[in-house]
């Protein structure tokens, strides 16, 4: 008897006891359903996070800052590398330093991180957010390649602006995106949100109001011994820029938490009078060195990251990359996945007990038949294999339907969770079924089922034919 005959015979045997097979199968389906949906939640969370990193180009970029005293390190009594720290002058992040960094091998480009709070006005809609200066070359890289309409600015000094989809959304204007259809909540509709054609927004004038210190008024009031009031101490400046592009809604929920809400060409941004986050320090700066708070560095390749880090740190600067945290994040997710997997596995182990029970019942019922099979020439190996295949087949079919069930359950859970916790009106996929989960769950189900079938199969094979033929 060849293997395909044995497999067919095993499947035919399962079909003979449809109800019992179905019930046993149901156990496996629920087990695999629970296992796969639990693990897919873990992988979904991980995917959302790493996707957000990828989308924002965080794996190939560093944020460079001037060297800080690591308070945590010192409080731990560790003064390593700290010798003479206070005596040494710190390397300021000036344009010349940025140029040096740009020339490090493996660096794609580096630019000063200019971010400042502004007030936007567009045809009567007002909003406060952070503006970010970017070099025009950024337009070639993620996440700035993902445009809904228009183009990224072409030069560093043009009077144009790229706006995030989310920024319009905050203003109550929802640019229509076929890939990301927005579901309005009742609240949204009441607020008067409306859908607009993204192309109609292009070329429109965006008024950016920024505030800066008014040194003259400051000087006058100080000299007069008066505390400068807000109106006179600050000067409001209006800059008019044309919308040249709209960035698509970021697919991941963490996406919009990175960087500002609008992007302005580097030099244009530089020219806008503003109060940066660290501007207050400028007031104390005696030397008028034009330095930046941080510098963004992008590597050509992820492999160059380590060399670039060493070169930058050799300049006396501090680097930070989210990629450094990736290993830790991966470890955390491994623990989460294992925990979820273990919970799901309990259901599968119960299902395995069901398989053992069903198989043993089946052997009892088929004792005489097994005796007949032996009498007409069935070998122990063949009978063992037939029962083994029966168990394995339950595992395989159970895995397929179980994954289907898991998928359905996660779809449903996703819909419910998204309805309960709306995030910018766009559904977020909390669950993820990567190929390894599909393959792994199937293999695991077959393995568990075969293990469950092992003892019954051996028992079936060892049945004494003489006794079995007398069996009623």
């Amino acid at each position: 008897m060849n293997i395909s005959d044995m497999i067919l015979l095993a499947i035919a045997n399962l079909f003979r006891t449809k109800l019992r097979t179905t019930l046993t199968l149901l156990g496996v389906v629920i087990g695999i359903g629970a296992l796969s949906s639990m693990v897919s939640l873990g992988t979904g969370m991980q995917k959302n996070l790493t996707d957000a990193f990828l989308e924002n180009d965080l794996f190939t970029s560093y944020r460079v800052t001037t060297k800080n005293i690591d308070l945590e390190q010192i409080s731990g009594g560790n003064f390593e590398n700290m010798e003479g720290f206070l005596d040494k002058p710190q390397t300021p992040l000036t344009d010349s330093i940025i140029k040096i960094i740009s020339n490090i091998e493996g660096v794609q480009y580096a630019f000063a991180d200019i971010q400042f709070p502004v007030q936007l006005s567009l045809e009567g809609y007002d909003i406060k957010l952070n503006a970010q200066g970017l070099p025009a070359t950024s337009g070639q890289y993620k996440p700035y390649t993902n445009l809904l309409a228009g183009t990224f600015f072409q030069t560093d000094n043009e009077k144009s602006v790229v706006v995030k989809w989310e920024t319009f959304r905050k203003m109550g204007l929802v640019p229509l995106d076929k890939d990301n259809l927005v579901v309005f909540s009742r609240e949204d509709s009441l607020k008067g949100f409306k859908v607009v054609d993204p192309d109609s927004l292009l070329g429109k004038e965006l008024v950016i109001k920024s505030k800066t210190l008014n040194p003259l008024s400051l000087a006058i009031s100080t000299m007069g011994g008066k505390v400068p009031d807000e109106k006179t101490a600050f000067r409001e400046v209006e800059t008019r820029l044309h919308i040249c592009g709209i960035l698509k809604k970021s697919g991941s929920f963490a996406g919009q938490q990175f960087r500002g809400g609008i992007y302005i060409p580097m030099e244009t941004a530089d020219d806008i009078p503003k109060l940066g986050f660290s501007s207050i320090w400028d007031l104390f700066d005696e030397e008028e060195v034009d330095s930046y708070g941080s510098v963004y560095v992008r590597a050509k390749d992820i492999q160059d990251m380590e060399i670039i880090r060493k070169d930058i740190e050799a300049l006396g600067l501090h680097t930070f990359s989210i990629a450094d945290q990736l290993e830790e994040i991966k470890k955390t997710f491994l623990i989460i996945d294992s925990l979820f997997g273990a919970i799901g596995s309990v259901a599968l182990i119960i299902a395995a007990l069901g398989i053992i029970n069903t198989m043993l019942m089946s052997i009892l019922e088929r004792t005489r038949e097994i005796g007949i099979m032996k009498a007409i020439g069935g070998s122990e190996r063949e009978i063992k294999f037939i029962f083994f295949v029966e168990a394995g087949f339950i595992g395989f079919i159970g895995a397929i339907f179980g994954l289907g069930l898991g998928w359905l359950v996660t779809r449903l859970a996703n819909i419910i969770l998204n309805a309960r916790f709306p995030e910018e009106g766009i559904p977020v996929d909390l669950f993820y079924f990567p190929w390894w989960l599909l393959a792994g769950a199937t293999a695991f189900s077959i393995f568990i089922s075969l293990a469950a079938g092992l003892y019954p199969a051996i028992r079936a094979a060892r049945i004494d034919p003489v006794k079995a033929l007398r069996h009623d």
Binding site: I372, M373, I376, G377
Partner: protein
Amino acid sequence: MILRVHNLCKSYYRGKLEIPALKNVSLDISEGEFVSIIGKSGSGKSTLLNLIGGLDTASSGNIFFRDQDISAMSRKELARHRRFSVGMIFQSFNLIPSRTALENISLALTFGGVPRRQRKARAEDVIRSVGLGHRIDHKPTELSGGEAQRIAIARALANNPAMVLADEPTGNLDSVTSSEIIDLLQELNQKKGISILMITHDQETASRISNKVIRLVDGSIANEQGKTSMP
């Protein structure tokens, strides 16, 4: 010589108590012979047949089937012996009730390694050879006793064995059907030259059709009478 049994002993154990079923049984069967075994129930007839059929293993002694010692065979080799060398027929037919006549025979052919495509035709042929071409798709419960036993005979013949072992094949049948089954076995013996070893209660029939009748009493051969010695 197709079968040579030499000093065969078989004991069963109930706890530590030894219950002998066969005691030093020796017999020879030539190619093409029809041999009957008679004896009271509990005399060890079925035990002897099961040992020859490779369903059970002897306590001591030897069984040579065409010079191969069955008593020394591994379980795997015994399965081969049951598959190809002998075909067994039982009093209670032992057909698988959930399978049709054709499927019962196909199963034997499947174990015999007959390719799937040839199985159906071969099974049909063998069913027709026992005169039940019209019962191919019937399940055992839809067959009369005589028909079921014919299907069982067809199954025993499926893999072309050299010997058929029949354990009271007419025990559950009425006298008319019984004689039909006996005729069929005799036909197989005479036309196809298949050796037959049959257990029966019917001494008269045994004497009439057999080349040799063996009487078992309490696990030992009481006497062996050849047809030639009959008056």
